[in-house]
């Protein structure tokens, strides 16, 4: 019952020029409309995966195949806020629209909406240096959402946010995703968040970075706060937590490819 | 240009009589070697009194300056005639540059050395003492002084047209232009320096000459002749007539020039016979002779300034001058 593949990373390796093997023979297919969370120990190559998908930097080997959508319809929330220090919040958020050729007035409404989504009304004219860390990250999120992307890559977007804002943005994101049938790849360190949001959780192990678990979260959308209290939710969390521990252990394995095949590889719903 | 009273006489020189009647003026640029001053007076006078116009020429005078390279401008066609210097003309022959001296306005080079009063009676006395000279002296009179008076290179001090350092130190000497620096020193330093005119010590290049491309001499000798004649007439008029029309133009080009300086310049030119002495008194202003070129060449070649094999006769032509003073009477 799979939808068509949005993109496929096939046998991808990435060796940085200083010799660090960030990814090693990684295979990953993400299907259209999936909400995939990517978990793994710090430095295991999650950001590198997103960068490869976004076409930032060359792969050392392997291929990236696109389905019907393409890199063109992609938005990316970087791990760092990456705002232009010389531009106001408004202008930072408007950037993707400006680059797409929209006039300022045409962009205004979408920008206002995106800023409202991350609750930064009143700060339109502020410069990044006048914002708190979390606010900066929210500007970055608004900038990604403003384009109405088909594919959304998010690298720990909510890590710097308080629980309230975070859960608000979680449900906002789910709503948007439900409406638009986006494909989302979401890096997070929060297992609960991953399970709550996604219909698939991919766990990576470190150096060389590779997929060690791929868990389908078979719970229906829309998901309410109650979902968080169900036994199913807790089971998934425990399951993934275990995978993560195993992933940490496996890092030291001498033949990483062996252990990959031994891990549970579920297909998404 | 200002329309000074023009002469009523008909064209005197037959060579010059060819074209003025047609009314079409030929545009000519004459490049000088410095900011306008009394030493350029004859040319300005010829402009001011319409002498060039009578010869069918529309002359623009383009001032030189301390670092303006006239020969390149001449050969590149930016100017048609250039205020040259005999030494430079012979160098041009050595380098294969086809320019020719067609008249020599100054029989004596006004180049001088000055010393503080009471410190020297003749050039020999400057031996061993610091002398401020400009860098161009290295290829003109300095080798001559070195050879003739035993000056040495460690005496040289850079002169950048600021006589202050000379005033500061009584033991020093400095180069100058007869009619310029001595007056400045008198006015600002309060004393009359001792002046040694190098022409009086055997350094005898023609200077303030008229040069043009060889090509012009060959293709349009008439034009050259008209320019030379009108210029010489200008000089007669400037020295012996009323110089004020020329002076007005000089002051216009060089606003910092004062009447006092101009008067001093004219006085010195006359006193030392810079323009009208020797050959010029017989052959007219602008006169040149084979002998004089040769003796200058020989002197300088002996000091190694010129190569022994140079055909210095290529540097000039006598074709346009030596017509006698009467030929230039206006």
């Amino acid at each position: 019952m799979n939808t068509p593949a949005a993109f496929t990373l096939s046998d991808v390796s990435k060796v940085y020029s200083n010799g660090t093997v960030a990814l090693h023979n990684l295979d990953l297919t993400v299907h259209e409309g999936q909400f995939v969370s990517l978990l793994g120990p710090s430095g295991c190559g999650k950001s590198t995966v997103l960068r490869m998908v976004a076409g930032l930097g060359k792969m050392s080997s392997g291929n990236l195949y696109w389905g019907s959508s393409s890199q063109r319809k992609l938005a990316y929330v970087f791990q760092e806020a990456a705002l232009m220090p010389w531009a106001t919040v408004e202008d930072n958020v408007a950037l993707p629209l400006k680059l797409a050729g929209l006039s300022k007035s045409a962009a205004r409404e979408a920008v206002q909406e995106a800023i409202a989504l991350v609750a930064l009304q009143g700060f339109e004219k502020a410069y990044p240096r006048e914002l708190s860390g979390g606010m900066r990250m929210r500007v970055s999120i608004a900038r990604a959402l403003v384009t109405k992307p088909e594919i959304l890559l998010m690298d720990e977007p909510f890590g710097a946010l308080d629980e309230m804002t975070r859960s608000k943005l979680n449900s906002d994101l789910l709503n948007l995703w439900g409406q638009k049938q986006w494909t989302v790849v979401f890096v997070t360190h929060n297992i609960y968040e991953a399970v709550y949001l996604s219909n698939r959780v991919v766990v990576m192990a470190a150096r060389p970075g590779r997929v060690v678990a791929d868990v389908a979260i078979a719970a229906p959308y829309p998901r309410t706060e109650e979902f968080r209290t169900t036994p199913l939710f807790n089971d998934y969390c425990r399951d993934i937590s275990n995978s993560l521990s195993r992933a940490a252990g496996q890092t030291a394995a001498l033949h990483p490819s062996d252990s990959v095949s031994a891990s549970v590889v579920n297909q998404p719903a | 240009a200002s329309q000074a009273p023009t002469s009523t006489e008909a064209p005197a020189s037959p060579a010059a009589g060819a074209s003025p009647a047609s009314g079409e003026l030929t545009k000519i640029t004459y490049g000088t070697n410095w900011y306008a001053q009394a030493e350029h007076g004859g040319f300005y006078q010829a402009v001011a009194t319409g002498l060039y116009k009578d010869a069918g020429l529309d002359v623009t005078i383009s001032m030189g300056g301390p670092q303006v390279n006239g020969t390149q401008l001449l050969m590149g066609g930016a100017i048609d005639f250039f205020m040259g210097y005999a030494a430079d003309a012979i160098k041009a022959v050595e380098e294969g540059i086809p320019k020719v001296t067609v008249a020599a306005i100054f029989q004596k080079d006004p180049q001088i050395l000055m010393a503080h009063p009471g410190t020297a009676d003749s050039l020999e006395d400057l031996k061993g003492r610091p002398i401020f000279i400009s860098s161009s002296a290295n290829v003109t009179y300095w080798p001559f002084l070195r050879a003739k008076f035993g000056f040495t290179d460690d005496q040289k001090r850079p002169y950048n047209f600021n006589p202050g350092p000379f005033l500061q130190d009584k033991q020093t000497a400095q180069q100058g232009y007869l009619s310029s620096e001595p007056l400045a020193i008198k006015k600002e330093g309060g004393f009359d320096p001792v002046v040694f005119l190098m022409a009086d010590y055997g350094y005898e290049p023609y200077s303030t000459t008229i040069e043009c491309k060889r090509e012009l001499v060959e293709s349009n000798p008439d034009l050259v002749q008209r320019f030379v004649d009108a210029s010489i007439k200008g000089w007669y008029s400037y020295l012996y007539g009323d110089p004020s029309p020329g002076n007005e133009l000089i002051k216009k080009d060089n606003p910092e020039m004062t009447d006092e300086q101009i008067a001093y310049g004219i006085e010195k030119m006359k006193e030392y016979g810079i323009v009208d002495s020797g050959d010029a008194q017989v052959k007219g202003i602008g006169a040149m002779t084979e002998e004089r070129w040769k003796s200058f060449y020989d002197t300088m070649a002996a000091e190694g300034v010129f190569k022994p094999e140079t055909d210095y006769t290529q540097a000039y032509t006598l074709q346009f001058v030596n017509k006698g003073p009467d030929a230039y009477k206006v």
Partner: protein, 294 residues
């Protein structure tokens, strides 16, 4: 939950103590920011005067500032028109340097190849003595621009040669220093070359560019002066170089210093204006101009 954040920021003035609104014009002029450099300037002049008097230096070597100022006042009628001419050359050369420096540096950042291949040769423009190539410039310009404008154009070109390189060099450096994350972002959104330039590289390069301007402003001025020495003008269209040279030649050293003072003041003025421009353009975001509160 939306109103969690919506207490609007009051758009107040950014001066911390601006309770009573903007400081008046007079107050601003009397602020230590302006007074301090002026005091230092006066102090330097006083020291100069004192030094000249104590060592009994004659005015034809080094005149004291009082004498220089007196001379300046007396000769204002001749020096001021010259100042205007030098200013005009400076201005044109500076603008030409800014435009060309910017354009060439933009060209350089379009490809590492172009930069590598041509940058080292740009330095030729700077290291060739103007004296040596002035005749060539004059000849060429004369062929392209006949008439009286030709001298002016030659002068501007000579001065431009002097002012060009620092802008090129600094701006190229700046264009290459854009933040890597932002470059990625622009790449991601398929920004065109022009967009990346306009919205990313140029703003990033601004501090460097403005630094280049400050260097080139002074160089354009000195270039204009030197150009006049070598390309020669005279009469009514002569600038300060002529006044300096003639004064020196005539041993009117106080007058020479008066002319030098004018170039100096012009140089300082250019510098101060460019610094103010720089502060204005960068104050919202660049470390060198932002007033941090912590």
């Amino acid at each position: 939950m939306d109103n969690l954040f919506d207490v609007p920021r009051q758009p107040e003035a950014s001066a911390p103590s601006s309770e009573s609104g903007q400081p008046s014009q007079l107050q601003r002029l009397l602020s230590p920011d302006i007074l301090a450099p002026i005091l230092v300037g006066l102090l330097m002049l006083a020291l100069w005067e004192l030094g000249v008097r104590l060592t009994n230096t004659p005015p034809y070597i080094l005149p004291g500032p009082i004498l220089v100022l007196q001379t300046l006042v007396r000769e204002w009628g001749t020096l001021f028109p010259s100042l205007l001419i030098t200013m005009k050359i400076t201005l044109f050369a500076f603008l030409a340097a800014v435009v060309s420096g910017l354009l060439v540096s933009v060209l350089f950042t379009q490809s590492k190849w172009i930069e590598r291949s041509f940058f080292p040769y740009a330095v030729i423009l700077q290291t060739t003595p103007i004296v040596a190539i002035a005749p060539l410039i004059i000849l060429w310009v004369r062929q392209l621009v006949p008439g009286t404008a030709s001298t002016f154009v030659s002068l501007v070109i000579c001065a431009w040669l002097v002012a060009f390189f620092p802008i090129l060099s600094n701006t190229t450096l700046g264009l290459n220093s854009a933040d890597h994350n932002l470059i990625n972002l622009f790449q991601l959104y398929r920004a065109s070359r022009w967009q990346t330039l306009r919205y990313l590289r140029l703003p990033s390069a601004l501090p460097y560019f403005l630094g280049g301007l400050r260097i080139s402003g002074g160089l354009a001025l000195i270039g204009a002066v030197v150009a006049e020495f070598v390309a020669g003008t005279g009469g009514t269209s002569s600038g300060l170089a002529y006044q300096i040279l003639i004064s020196s030649f005539n041993l009117q050293i106080p007058r020479m210093f008066a002319a030098l003072l004018l170039t100096t003041v012009l140089g300082i003025l250019i510098f101060v204006l460019l610094t103010m421009l720089s502060d204005r353009l960068l104050r919202h975001w660049h470390e060198s101009a932002v007033r941090r509160e912590n």
